[in-house]
């Protein structure tokens, strides 16, 4: 830093930088609900999710200059969050990393067919079939999906990220995103089917 008083152009530059920083922080904070929503499904507990989100924003605000304005801020934040999650080494938890070949997947219509068989109508419409699923069972069923698959489902189906963004966030090829997404959904549906109450 110069030892003399700041020049007029220094002051202008600093003022512009301050404005940029404020705007960056505002835009980032506007996304916090969405970031939290994804974090909550990536980790086991509310407490962990809150810690993770707070650390994410601390790091994001420290590194704000590394973000290119106009690019996907949401994906940038999620990348930070995902990396922090890996650093914490919390990924070796109850659920195995990836499912083995016989991961308890089922065919595409397994869940529908099972739920349909429990409804008394002859030709039930899909709302009647869906009513057999409880909210808690969905939360639990998702938590039981092995995390490599769950990460992709949470980013794409819940976080609404495009495949390419999810690939970038998780640092995996886009083809892997698609295959894990399809298998992950099948595992989720099988988990749901296992949790439905038999009439």
């Amino acid at each position: 830093m110069s030892e003399t008083a700041p020049t007029a152009s220094d002051s202008r530059r600093l003022a512009q930088e301050a404005r940029d920083r404020v705007r960056f922080e505002e835009e980032a904070l506007e996304l916090s609900d969405q970031v939290y929503r994804v974090a909550r499904r990536l980790v086991g507990s509310r407490e962990e999710a809150e810690d993770l989100v707070q650390q994410t924003y601390e790091r994001a605000f420290r590194s704000w200059r590394q973000f290119t304005p106009g690019t996907n801020l949401r994906a940038w934040l999620l990348r930070i969050l995902t990396n922090l999650n890996i650093d914490r080494g919390r990924r070796q938890q109850r659920t195995p990393q990836t499912a083995s070949l016989d991961a308890g997947e089922a065919g595409d219509y397994f869940l529908y067919n099972k739920l349909e068989s429990q409804v008394t109508d002859e030709n039930p419409d899909e709302e009647r079939v869906l009513e057999r699923l409880s909210q808690d069972s969905i939360v639990e069923a998702l938590a039981d999906v092995p995390h490599d698959f769950r990460d992709v489902i949470v980013l794409v189906d819940i976080g609404d990220f495009a495949y390419a963004d999810a690939a970038q966030i998780l640092d995996i090829p886009i083809g892997t995103v698609m295959s894990r997404l399809h298998r992950g959904r099948r595992i989720l549906k099988k988990n749901l089917a296992d949790r439905t109450v038999t009439a």
Binding site: L29, D108, L111, E126, I138, L188
Partner: protein, 66 residues
Amino acid sequence: MQPFLDGTLSDDEVAKAQWHLEKCSWCARRYRFEERLRHYVRVAVTEPMSPELKAKLAALRTPLDA
């Protein structure tokens, strides 16, 4: 069905799929179920952030006079 729901089919394939769904109620029911299920999953797992966390995040902002 999954690629159709994901919007990753070609225009041609989409047209064929839609044509089929108009004729086949067996498939149509399952397709609508899948659509509703995805929506339902998203809604079911959505949990709002606590006000405490919201406040902590807001406190991270750089003060204006820094």
